[in-house]
């Protein structure tokens, strides 16, 4: 139900609006990006944080999660950088770019020795030099106001700009590691822009992590502009500390005959949300978006996504697996839009939840919005406990209950992980999953 009356501003909203104003005043940016930032700030000033009456935030109460806005993180110290380097999740064989407490880790990042065809500059440097790549930033905004992305845009400063040259086949994955090391509740805003030119191939890993017991707030948005015939793999690991608020945004624009595969493993944060907006702008492309959400205690994990088929002959596949222990709360909202001219669209979306905790809670909202007739679209959603017959079969073969359950849970999430093409990555992810699931729930 839409509302035409304003809610009183929360303390969190007030503080955020002030922080936005302060940054606009202290670090003015000219040109298009500056305008973009001012527009985002104005939109936040007008709409603020969403209540649960805003349909996209029906199951995640962001106003409650941001009762207080955390102060902004300051400059990076050498010791924090060293610590972050040690703690960062390792992906063997990948080139790592480090962000520490939301800021670029100058000493630790190998921007000068990236594989051929890839160049990367810190966002602040790109802003200072007026990089032409920045014309792309914010080019594909979600159709409706989104508080998390608006804040990220309004606070634009830290982040990374990656460019992959046309035709480059990059074998080495690029790992952007965001590590929070402070023991104080601070707020971070980071933005990643990835422009992949025609026919290029690249794998990007994005990881987010931090210490337990700290109520920090991480807002990380990434934009991918993928040229015709390019192939992009994205692996996103969200393993924030258990006190954190993680607001992730992923915006992907795909040209013609693109192959885009994304996988998110989310295990962290007290409250986490990934908003994903995928758009097919050229015919003949394929997107496969998969994810695994492992939730325990009172964790809240939300994946909200839109796949927008604006052109014909594209195929999208989405598969999300959520495992809920204790009193955790999982959310999946997925929408497939097929616009009037997008004939021959083939879209499938599935969300499956395994409820292991007696009072675990899963809210599924898979949507179809179809305006073309020659399409094949479908979605499914299931929620339930482990199948007793499966469990008994394992027990009858002598496998003890805890092990039997772990095996079945791994098999359940494995169906999503197996879509990660690179074997090294797949194994690294599975190892993290097994470690996280531990023994008996």
């Amino acid at each position: 139900m839409s509302i035409d009356f304003r809610n009183p501003r929360t303390a969190g909203e007030e503080a955020l609006a002030k922080a936005v104003e302060a940054r606009l005043a202290a670090e003015p940016i000219s040109g298009r990006v500056g305008e973009l930032r001012r527009a985002a700030a104005a939109a936040f000033a007008e709409h603020g944080l969403p209540t649960r009456r805003v349909e996209e935030w029906k199951y995640t109460d962001l106003r409650a999660a941001v009762r207080e806005a955390a102060p902004l993180a300051g400059a990076v110290t050498a010791s924090a950088e060293a610590e972050a380097g040690l703690r960062a999740i390792a992906f063997p064989g990948a080139e790592r770019v480090l962000f520490v407490n939301g800021a670029y880790g100058r000493g630790a990042s190998p921007l000068g020795k990236l594989p051929a065809g890839v160049s990367a500059v810190p966002l602040a440097a790109a802003l200072a030099s007026g990089s032409p790549l920045l014309e792309r930033i914010g080019a594909l905004a979600p159709q409706r106001y989104d508080a998390a992305l608006a804040l990220n845009t309004a606070m634009l400063r830290e982040g990374l700009v990656i460019h992959v040259a046309a035709g480059a086949k990059v074998e080495t994955p690029i790992h952007i590691a965001h590590v929070f090391t402070a023991d104080a509740p601070l707020a971070t805003f980071t933005r990643t822009l990835v422009v992949v030119e025609e026919g290029a191939q690249v794998a990007i890993i994005e990881s987010h992590q931090g210490p337990a017991g700290v109520a920090y707030q991480a807002n990380a948005a990434s934009e991918f502009y993928i040229g015709d015939g390019a192939h992009v793999d994205l692996v996103r690991v969200q393993a924030e500390g258990d006190g954190a608020l993680h607001l992730g945004t992923l915006v992907v624009d795909m040209g013609r005959e693109v192959a885009f595969h994304a996988f998110q493993l989310a295990t962290g944060a007290a409250t986490a949300r990934l908003s994903l907006h995928g758009r097919f702008s050229g015919a003949g492309s394929h997107a496969g978006i998969r994810g695994v959400n492992l939730l325990t205690g009172r964790q809240h994990g939300d994946v909200t996504m839109v796949m927008d088929h604006a052109v014909p002959h594209c195929e999208s596949r989405e598969l999300f697996k959520t495992v809920l222990k204790d009193e955790s709360h999982g959310v999946f909202q997925g929408k497939i839009i097929v616009r009037p001219d997008a004939q021959k669209t083939d879209g499938r979306m599935m969300s499956q939840a395994l409820l292991l905790g007696e009072f675990a809670q899963m809210d599924n909202k898979p949507e179809l919005e179809i305006f073309a007739d020659d399409v094949q679209c479908g979605h499914g959603a299931t929620a339930g406990a482990l199948d007793d017959d499966l469990l008994f079969y394992l027990l009858a073969r002598g496998i003890p209950p805890a092990e039997a359950q772990a095996l079945l849970v791994q098999a359940f999430v494995g169906e999503a992980v197996e879509y990660v093409e690179q074997e090294d990555l797949r194994e690294a992810l599975m190892a993290q999953i097994v470690a996280r699931l531990g023994g008996a729930p």
Binding site: L356, Q361, D363, L368, D373
Partner: protein, 492 residues
């Protein structure tokens, strides 16, 4: 693909202009003055000779309604309704209440004959012998007043009360007081609250303990008067171990203006009781340009109040310019069951936003949803549904299947399910698909000698078969015809 295009063109020209039931009946009406205020509410109550408590109930609803806003979340758009520009009560003029069938205006009888409703008992009986089916008792609602109720005596013998709700308010106040508004509270939503203030008539059914209602009960709604809102109120109570099957059919004459219809239906199933409620709705959908047609804003809800109770909704929705309708089940009793079977066909400029809510509260409750949406022309067809299991609703089970079929590329089909599991023993399965009639299927039919329209009708009938099977025989035939009328150029 010229063949496809041709079908699309034909279907696009569907019969919205040839609405079969678009005749008007010329009779004198007794109408309340235009507009809505407390006096309108008092006027309606007085016309009905209602007791003071009923008037107070209505006025309370009216005062609440004044503070409410029209909902906007549904995927429908229409010009703002001026609630002061409507008539809220229109009754065929009668000297007194109709005492017997002979007191009824012959014009009204003729109208019902055109609709194929056997109002006279002997006609009904003739109908039985020719069809070999079961008998149907009809409570016909003409605009706002229940005109006559057939089979009353026989039902009375079984202890079944089947009468106009206005009569029930006078004759059975204790039952009405106990149950009215107990499933759909007065301030449930904007339209339900409006209905509570100004409802004019509707049906009342009471099935006593252990009684299996000896025949299908049926109400035929019809909107005749210009600019009248029709606000029926239906209340069905099945006592412990009782069973009843209720059929509702709706038509309206063809008019340029939009007519508002905001009904409330409440079902109460006590321990071991079962209620089956079937609707075939073919109200005037507006013309090919989208002018006119019924605005259908309906609140239908069943309460499985007792253990092992069951409520089943089946609907075939082919009419109305706008449909806003979510027949729901509150599964309160342990082991209670809810079902929703729906066919929604939209064509021309129709907008449908319909679905169901299954609220699992008791233990071991189960629900089943089968929804088939077919969109053609310039229509918009949305399924919107909620399945939720409360924390303590252990072993809740739901299976949902909603399929959409698009015919032509100027319509839209949408699916918006909310699935909320709040405990680990819940087991919910939901699946939805959207597709078109495949060229292969159609070619196969054409190769076997069917015409394009026949092929489309055949395939659509196959597509909706699971739901048609749920309808009582008397309605299934009518529904099948309606589907043909809605989609085939040559049949209407």
């Amino acid at each position: 693909m010229p063949a496809v295009q041709e079908t699309v063109e034909r279907v696009r020209a569907i019969d919205v202009d040839q609405y079969k039931y678009g005749f008007t009946t010329d009779i004198e009406s007794d109408m309340a003055p235009k507009g809505l205020d407390e006096d309108t509410v008092r006027f309606i109550s007085a016309k009905k000779n209602e007791p003071e408590w009923m008037l107070e109930w209505r006025l309370d609803a009216f005062r609440r309604w004044l503070t409410m806003r029209e909902p906007t979340w549904a995927r429908v758009s229409y010009p703002k309704i001026d609630f002061q520009d409507l008539y809220y009560y229109a009754a065929p003029k009668a000297k007194a209440g109709p005492k017997s069938i002979d007191d009824i205006d012959p014009e009204i009888l003729k109208t019902y004959e055109k609709l194929g409703i056997p109002l006279r008992e002997r006609d009904a009986l003739l109908g039985i012998e020719s069809s070999g089916g079961s008998r149907v008792a009809v409570d016909a609602v003409f605009d706002s007043v229940s005109v006559a109720t057939t089979f009353k005596a026989e039902l009375a013998k079984a202890g079944v009360i089947f009468c106009a709700i206005s009569e029930a308010i006078r004759e059975h106040p204790e039952l009405v007081k106990q149950y009215l508004g107990s499933v759909v509270p007065v301030s449930d939503n904007f339209y339900a609250t409006l209905n509570s203030a100004v409802f004019s008539d509707g049906s009342f059914v009471y099935i006593p303990k252990g009684v299996r209602c000896p025949m299908e009960l049926s109400t035929y709604f019809r909107i005749n008067e210009r600019n009248t809102g029709q606000f029926e109120r239906t209340l069905i109570i099945a006592e412990e171990g009782a069973y009843v099957s209720y059929l509702e059919g709706c038509t309206a004459p063809q008019r340029d203006e939009n007519q508002l219809h905001a009904a409330v239906v409440e079902l109460v199933a006590l321990k071991d009781a079962e209620i089956k409620y079937s609707t075939v709705q073919n109200w005037y959908p507006g013309d090919a340009q989208g002018k006119g047609g019924i605005y259908n804003f309906v609140t239908k809800r069943g309460d499985c109040r007792g253990d092992n109770s069951k409520i089943s909704w089946t609907q075939v929705e082919t009419g109305s310019a706008i449909t806003w309708k979510y027949p729901s089940c509150i599964l309160r009793g342990d082991n209670s069951q809810g079902e929703f079977y729906s066919i929604a066909i939209s064509n021309g400029h129709q907008q449908v936003d319909s679905g169901t809510k299954m609220i699992h509260l008791g233990k071991n409750t189960s629900s089943r949803i089968i929804s088939k949406g077919i969109a053609a022309g310039h229509s918009e067809n949305t399924y919107r549904g909620l399945v939720s299991a409360h924390r303590r609703a252990t072993n809740a089970r739901n299976f949902t299947n909603c399929d959409s079929l698009l015919i032509g590329d100027t319509c839209g089909a949408h699916t918006v399910p909310y699935i909320e599991a709040n405990n680990s023993s819940a087991k919910f399965e939901h699946e939805a698909t959207t597709s078109k009639i495949s060229d292969d299927q159609k070619f196969y039919c054409l190769q076997r000698g069917l015409s394009e329209e026949e092929a489309v009708a055949l395939i659509v009938n196959g597509f909706v078969k699971d739901v048609l099977q749920q309808l009582p025989m008397e309605f299934a035939v009518e529904a099948q015809k309606l589907i043909a009328v809605s989609l085939e150029g040559s049949v209407g």
